[in-house]
């Protein structure tokens, strides 16, 4: 095809771990000596696949390895992947802030990268001066900025403050002005990191809206994000990165599904209970609390998917009719939901020994983060064991099968009510 605007071939990037500066002179000399003798760089061989959770053998690591792909004109390419998968490194290389260790890429047209809003803003300068400065840094010419100046001021809504130094701006005004400049960039290719997605809801909507405009005008956009909803609504093509290489390429829809599939692999999340224990007795304790059916060894739970928790209880004294309870709080500490064995009319008695306990909670929670608290009490209400906010869970905005997903980027309330809507024509 002739309308390829970016062609990436076998891109690789190696980083040195640990303290840079110690031992670098000897490494540099070694490298130089190897080159003089026409040999391979001795440190390039040592690199291994980038897995941050595992201790490696060498000090060098490939943050990116053998990455190849093409981008056509008008594509909106979404790059997704776990933290440390190499997304940002790829963006850095494409925006030319660092150079690849191996491989190459070719570009047609002007690239503008937005890895941050307000790059180069000078606090002492006024809004007006900063618009020109920031615009120039992003690659606009003075006349381009001049012709868009009114639009930028209008978009950011800071007209009254335009001659005030930006150090006196509220952080919101600052971001608005900065994004205003960025949004009016006219380059053929736009590279956007998810940092843009900070800010309030209105600002996020504005960003997404502006990006949709950009892509509908036939320009090419590369977008990195963890926000699956935004990625799905914006992008046409997707790349899934994992450990520095491309794991999947295809339509955005398929790529997101592939990503979610990958998250199934590890499924347990454990916590150290000691830190959270606020009541204890010598009679009974939780020795283990484990969250099941989650994603990538973390605490993520799909939208609308039941929450399953497995406990191990150590009982040191016989106890009759114990009350078991679980409380779900918002991260602000609002008590949302309380579950108790007594509510369903059953109490549990235990002898000395270890027990396993499985709890399944219906998940009516809206996307967000919540804390779980567990307790064991005597029948008269005296608390024997209490681990407060020991288990943070994150409800994702996507469902496991993708069909009943939380489609919108906004949420209202914390809990969905089970409701029944009957519509009849009268």
């Amino acid at each position: 095809m002739s309308n390829t605007v970016i062609k990436v071939e076998n891109l690789g990037k190696q980083y040195r771990l640990g303290d840079i500066g110690t031992g670098t002179i000897s490494h540099d000399l070694n490298r130089w000596w190897a080159r003089v003798r026409g040999k391979e760089d001795p440190f390039l061989k040592l690199g291994e696949v980038n897995d941050r959770t595992q201790k490696g053998i060498s000090d060098f690591v490939w943050a990116l390895k053998d990455v190849s792909f093409d981008v056509n004109q008008g594509d909106v390419l979404g790059i997704i992947g776990k933290n440390g998968a190499g997304k940002s490194t790829l963006l850095k290389i494409l925006s030319r802030t660092t150079s690849p260790t191996t491989g190459s890429y070719k570009v047609k047209g002007r690239i503008a990268s937005l890895l941050e809003v307000g790059t180069g803003f000078h606090p002492e300068l006024s809004g007006r001066e900063n618009i020109f400065l920031n615009g120039a840094i992003l690659g606009m010419t003075k006349s381009e900025i001049k012709s868009k100046f009114d639009e930028i001021v209008d978009f950011s809504g800071v007209e009254r403050y335009i001659d005030t130094p930006v150090k006196r701006y509220s952080s919101g005004m600052y971001v608005r002005l900065a994004f205003g400049v960025a949004a009016h960039l006219e380059s053929e290719i736009l590279i956007v990191d998810e940092v843009l997605a900070v800010g309030d809801q209105e600002f996020q909507d504005k960003c997404i809206g502006k990006m949709k405009n950009v892509s509908s005008s036939g320009r090419t956009v590369i977008f990195v994000s963890h926000n699956m909803a935004a990625v799905k609504s914006l992008c046409t093509k997707g790349i899934l990165m994992s450990k520095g290489s491309i794991q999947y390429q295809g339509s955005m829809q398929e790529t997101v599904q592939e990503y979610i599939k990958g998250m199934h692999q590890h499924s347990k999340f454990e916590i150290n209970l000691k830190e959270y224990r606020t009541y204890k007795s010598s009679i009974i304790e939780f020795s283990k609390v484990e969250l099941e059916n989650l994603t990538e060894g973390s605490n993520k739970i799909y939208f609308n998917k039941n929450i399953k928790i497995n406990f191990v209880i150590d009982c040191f004294e016989k106890i009759d009719n114990a009350l078991l309870d679980c409380k779900i709080n918002t991260i602000d500490g609002v008590e949302l939901i309380h579950a108790m064995n007594q509510y369903s009319g059953e109490l549990h008695s235990m002898d000395i020994g270890s027990y396993s306990l499985n709890l399944e909670l219906q998940n009516n929670l809206q996307p967000g983060t919540y804390n779980l608290t567990f307790g064991i009490h005597r029948a008269d209400g005296r608390t024997l064991e209490y681990v407060e906010n020991c288990l943070p869970i994150e409800i994702l905005s996507i469902a496991s099968d993708d069909s009943t997903g939380h489609k919108y980027d906004f949420k209202l309330g914390y809990v969905r009510a089970n409701s029944d809507w009957r519509l009849q024509k009268i």
Binding site: I25, I93, K106, V107
Partner: protein
Amino acid sequence: MSNNEEWDLIVKPKSSWFEFNFKEIWRYRDLLFMFVKRDIVSTYKQTILGPLWFFIQPILTALTFTIIFGNIANLSTDDKPKFLFYLAGTTCWNYFADCLNSTSGTFINNAGIFGKVYFPRLISPLSVVISSVLKFLIQFLLFVAVFIVMYFNDANLQPNKLMLLIPFLVLLMGIMGLGLGIIVSSFTTKYRDLRFLISFGIQLFMYITPVILPLSQFKGIMKKVVMANPMTPIIETFKAAFLGVPNDYSVNGLFYTTAFTVVVFCLAILIFNKVEKSFMDTV
């Protein structure tokens, strides 16, 4: 895909050693201008005297030198007016030191911007040197004003045709400061040690430059050291142009300085090209 397709940009791991992309720098000239403006405007924001500080600094320095070195220590100024002698020295030296000092921080000070956006990195040190030139021009005007006043009150000043060399001297100092600064800044991305060295190194360097003592006062081995200093011919020429040519003055020193500057500058561009590609990984 055909190979003869037109690509606007091809990025590879290693590029040629000597690559000076004038076209690209020209395309970003607006940015260069904005940086210069930022440097000048932001320096004296929220000060009462504002740009007057450009004048106050050299006057106070020259005055201090006049009192301490001229009157208390009674050092020779070759029978030239002491204040003007020191003002000439500090005006030149400040300009050079300014260029060197501010370009030597290029990579470290701009790591924030460099890490987020691409533009020809050379724009940054260039803009700093241009703002130093502007500062120098302002201070030079001050010097000329003082000179004119003294010229009509004092007979011992012989301005001469060496003055024609002044623009060349300015260029030479700028390029030398830029070159040395770039080399230092390229190394400081990896080895921070140089930063400490440069801050007091510049001060020490001044004492083997005829800023305070005229060249005629250096004897023996010290004279050789001072003569080897590439800044010496520049400052000597500058003083000679306004104050009068000393007997032992020779313009040959300037050839040495020019050669030195060219070598340093080429070396600097070479190292800069090497470092700018991936300094973000080590800074």
